[in-house]
Amino acid sequence: MAHAADDLVATDIGEYLRRHENKSMLRFITCGSVDDGKSTLIGRLLYDAKLVFADHLEALEADSKRIGTQGDELDFALLVDGLAAEREQGITIDVAYRFFTTERRKFIVADTPGHEQYTRNMVTGASTAELAVILVDARKGVVTQTRRHSFLVSLLGIRHVVVAVNKLDLVDYSEEVFAGIEADYRSFADLIGINDVTCIPISALNGDNVTTPSSRTPFYDGPTLLEHLEAVEVGDERDAGPLRLPVQWVNRPNLDFRGFSGQIAGGSVRPGDQVRIMPAGTETSISRIVTADGDLEEASSGQSVTVTLADEVDVSRGDVITHALASAPVGDQFECHLIWMGEEPMLPGRPYFLKIGTKTVGATVTHPKFKINVNTLEHEPAPTLGLNEIGVCNISTDRPISFDPYVENRDTGGFILIDRYTNATVGAGLISFELRRSQNVHWQTTLVDREARARLLGQQPRVVWFTGLSGAGKSTIASLVERRLFDQGFHTYLLDGDNLRHGLNRDVGFTSADRVENVRRAAEVARILVDAGIVVLASFISPFRAERRMARDLFEEGQFIEVHVDIPLAIAEGRDHKGLYAKARRGELTNFTGIDSPYESPEKPELHLDAATLSVEEAAASVVDYLLQPGILGATPGIESLWI
């Protein structure tokens, strides 16, 4: 199974092992369709590197005869095709990972199909690759599919591209054909920002320039494909960037040790470094870098470590430890490229889970600004994104998250979207940049995040809706309740029907239609205030059940508390502090509730106050007692943890 040159295995296995234990690793992706000979190329790499076992070869020979496409020759494609169903169809339909090794490098190959409907798979394979091998059929040249693959490669942040111009045997190893394809490709690559391009003329079928230089391509004096893969430098931009350590797991073996475990996603770290815990922004410094093999003096991107901190600061899974002077930005709205992977189309406004680094939050996506036609690279208007479509969208998270633009760091700038109901991974996103609030109030109604505001105020917003006849004492009671709550530190606002009619509702009269509009406006104002995190005390006669129902429906379950200030008409009329009943009786006021307009008593108010027997102080006290119960305004055990 060893690589060709390994006489060393037989003569000095110890030396062999030492060399191999110091080799590096390269992850690359191969792009192209079955027709381009991609599977054949990978099969050839494995075969020529002597990585095919005798028993696998026997199976290959048998399969080649049975279902092969190469007559009596070995069909290398069969060496790498996997699942039975797709083998029968003759196409690969998923991402497969292959491995081979030489003395200099271990290779992980993501093998993905080239068909249009499988953008999802190519994006998945590309997400971990450092280099892409793009196959071009020498007979066809740079085609639509080549451009599509190159665009995806560029989008996913792969900076090194090898163009393997394959099937050169079918164009008589023509230099002209090869040079033409190279020129075509380079001009396209410049357009989409791929700078490192290497073109190699090959025949995967015959093995030309795959692992051994071909005598049939005298015009080409560059490396073979394998030589290039062995030698290419793929310095990771993350190495040079600032420290990013997403916390995966809090390591607490005992009370004396509190470590934070994670894989460094960017930069490096040393004991003593000043760091900032994001998104909170807490500053502290690194004490130790702990591993099972002893403490480290330095650790850098790619390493899995456990760090301890100098101060007892609050750190949990999902936080990111960053350099104090180059901390990661924090935001809750972004513009991103979104690749849709779900069978069902993306639903703007629907809540999804978003996982970035080690953090999972709730998120909603706006309508796409446009989708990108991967064949023409043109921007097209789109109401949503379907499977395998790519668009540019705005995304809003329910909590601030720490991130980097994807072009700066793939691990802290890439995210997945998860359907809350099926748990399927339905989208992959690449953060372009953060949106500032003022720039986008026009597009995003879900911007208004009630929970975040309520959290800042440290309370749960509610609307307490006082309904009852004029003169029942609603406003007086509501006012007393507000004073009591205010004194206890609640942020409150009293919405009074009479007061509202002096401004917002000055154009609204007292007909039934106007009363409905009056209550509708009042309820909408209450909703805005609840959205702002406020405890609202609303005092409105609101005589009709339907409108109180409508008001209630504007709020979430449990947010709307209906208080019926109940008083017999005779007593209210007897009090008549404002002289309104008398006016109504005299016919000077029409549509007066209780006189010539009905009052529909609530059927199931949250609280019923007998205003005929209770004093206003007693009534207010019973309202406050009700409100301060746990789960209404009182503290709910564990509610804090929901917000962490």
Binding site: M1, A2, V9, A10, I13, G14, Y16, L17, H20, E21, K23, S24, F53, D55, H56, V80, D81, G82, L83, A84, A85, D94, A96, Y97, R98, F99, T101, R105, K106, I108, R120, V123, T124, S127, T128, Q248, W249, N251, P253, F257, S261, G262, Q263, A265, S268, V290, T291, A292, D293, S300, G302, S304, K355, T358, R410, G414, I416, N423, A424, T425
Partner: protein, 300 residues
């Protein structure tokens, strides 16, 4: 700054997988088969959570037919690291005396291992299980995810597997579903041996050549590990210098003749040999695609 070697990268990525799985599951468990891949997996788990012990028990789905040396190795290892070990033997198999001689390898493996594994996972209510499978073992495994969702019936549905991008794993499950996690997905057999060599990881001595009693059946060398092995009339075990490339139930595991008595010699022999690791396993020799069928039925 020096780039990591390939083994350092593989190690780091496996540790990341271990931590992610533990952080996002309620009741994880590690399937421990006593073989070299299990040894590497345990070694990585010890590193991933250091200085804490691995925050999950080991589960050995036993068939009662493993090599004696495997049981000894297992018990010594568990004692040394003070690990929590659960062993499970399918009670139906005990009752019916399922064995490879009377019932054949396929039924033996299906009932003891596949059924036994499902029963054990259900019994303890584990929602996540680490397994030592690698993508290079077999063609159908090349497409297996690192985090693989199984239905409440432990079935694997190739159409329902989730794309895995970057280092992001979607571990969410519905009630009854569970996750199989393969931290060694991107390791090859050679990587495993090199890592064992570099890290001096203990392995069952059966991997090293020694004189052992064997009989030859249909061209396969079977070690006579205890007196449950029925011998044909006139069949006499003979001592030969042999070793094993994989370990399982002793009546189903073919030995290779070898004098490789050190780790370096084993690796040397492996690199010069021409047959793949799983060749010695009876279960893979069915029709093409059989591993895939096994996997859909719940075999690891």
């Amino acid at each position: 700054m020096s780039k990591l070697t390939h083994l350092q990268q593989l190690e780091s990525d496996s540790i990341q997988i271990f931590r992610e799985a533990v952080a996002e599951s309620e009741r994880p468990v590690m399937l421990y088969s006593v073989g070299k891949d299990s040894s590497v997996m345990l070694h990585l788990a010890l590193k991933a959570f250091y200085p804490s012990p691995p925050p999950f028990p080991l589960l050995h789905v036993d068939t009662t037919w493993k090599f004696q040396a495997m049981y000894e190795f297992r018990d010594a290892l568990v004692a040394r690291h003070q690990l929590e070990l659960l062993t499970y033997q399918n009670p139906d198999c005990i009752e019916r005396g399922i064995n490879p001689f009377d019932h054949g390898s396929a039924m033996h493996t299906d009932l003891w291992k596949t059924e036994g594994l499902k029963q054990a996972l259900d019994l303890h209510g584990f929602d996540l299980a680490f397994g030592g499978a690698r993508r290079d073992e077999e063609k159908s495994r090349a497409k297996e995810r690192i985090f693989s969702i199984r239905s409440a019936q432990h079935r694997w549905d190739p159409k329902q597997q989730r794309p895995e991008l970057w280092h992001l794993f979607n571990t969410r499950t519905r009630p009854g579903e569970s996750v199989r996690v393969f931290p060694l997905s991107n390791w090859t057999e050679l990587d495993v041996w090199q890592y064992i060599h570099l890290e001096e990881i203990p392995i069952v001595p059966l991997y090293l050549a020694a004189e052992r009693p064997v009989v030859e059946r249909d061209g396969t060398l079977i070690m006579v590990d205890d007196d449950r092995m029925p011998l044909a009339p006139g069949e006499v075990p003979e001592l030969r210098s042999i070793r094993f490339r994989t370990l399982g139930c002793y009546p189903l595991t073919g030995a290779v003749e070898s004098t490789a008595g050190t780790l370096e010699e084993i690796i040397q022999e492996m690199l010069l040999t021409t047959s793949s690791e799983r060749e010695g396993r009876v279960i893979d020799h069915d029709a093409s695609g059989s591993m895939e069928k096994k996997k859909q039925e719940g075999y690891f």
